[in-house]
């Protein structure tokens, strides 16, 4: 079946260090992949979306590359900021509008 796996429930790191949040997926067809970020008491917001032409989406210093061979869409940032502390969800979507979310990764950035 279709699913999204985020292996880390909690990632804690020091400000300035690189960030990498894992996301792998299983899908029947070629899906679109998304990263959503949810800050405390806020709505989830789109951070990144995969492209169909192998471009690497980037936003707010974050980037992710869709690797179909390994079914991965890991989220990366070269230098973490305190304001990056939030819940991050990887999600998979098809044209039928159903979206599957991973269980989320809580990122905590410490000074």
């Amino acid at each position: 079946g279709d699913s999204v796996t985020q292996t880390e429930g909690l990632v804690t790191l020091t400000e300035g260090l690189p960030v990498m949040l894992n996301c792998t997926y299983q899908s029947t067809y070629s899906p679109f992949l998304f990263w959503y970020v949810q800050h405390l008491n806020e709505a989830p917001k789109l951070l990144l979306k995969s492209f169909t032409d192998n471009k690497r989406p980037e936003h707010q210093g974050f980037h992710a590359t869709l690797h179909k061979s390994s079914s991965s869409f890991h989220l990366q940032k070269s230098s973490a900021q305190l304001s990056d502390s939030a819940l991050y969800y990887c999600a998979l979507s098809y044209s039928n509008n159903r979206i599957f979310f991973g269980d989320g990764t809580q990122l905590v950035v410490k000074p």
Partner: protein
């Protein structure tokens, strides 16, 4: 810009009673509306997906009899939790999108507490 409003933000209901929550899309036409429940562990459960001109599709473990949904136009959807019990507690999120494979805009959710 595109925004989604949900209300009420918080509600408390007695066990066995029902409560209705609403979702309003502003700045875009919500051709597709999905209702999710976010558990205390922060995982998302898809309850149902409503697409204009299609029947509402409920996920396993969720039924129309328990979570009736209305999606009467391209800017509004509502969902009722009937006969709420403790296991229905959580944050109910509405996610709306305009076109296929575009961004889903979420509301801040309705937090349901059952006492």
């Amino acid at each position: 810009g595109a925004l989604v409003y949900q209300y009420p933000r918080r509600t408390i209901c007695k066990s066995g009673t029902s409560m209705r929550m609403e979702c309003q899309a502003v700045g875009f036409q919500a051709t597709s509306v999905a209702w999710y429940r976010q558990s205390p562990q922060k995982t998302f459960e898809l309850i149902a997906l409503s697409t204009v001109n299609s029947a509402i599709k409920y996920e396993q473990n969720f039924t129309q009899e328990k979570f009736p949904i209305s999606h009467p136009n391209l800017s509004f959807s509502s969902m009722t939790v009937l006969n709420a019990y403790l296991e229905d507690r959580g944050l109910y999120l509405c996610g709306a999108r305009g076109q296929e494979n575009t961004e889903v805009f979420f509301g801040k959710g309705t937090r349901l507490t059952v006492v």
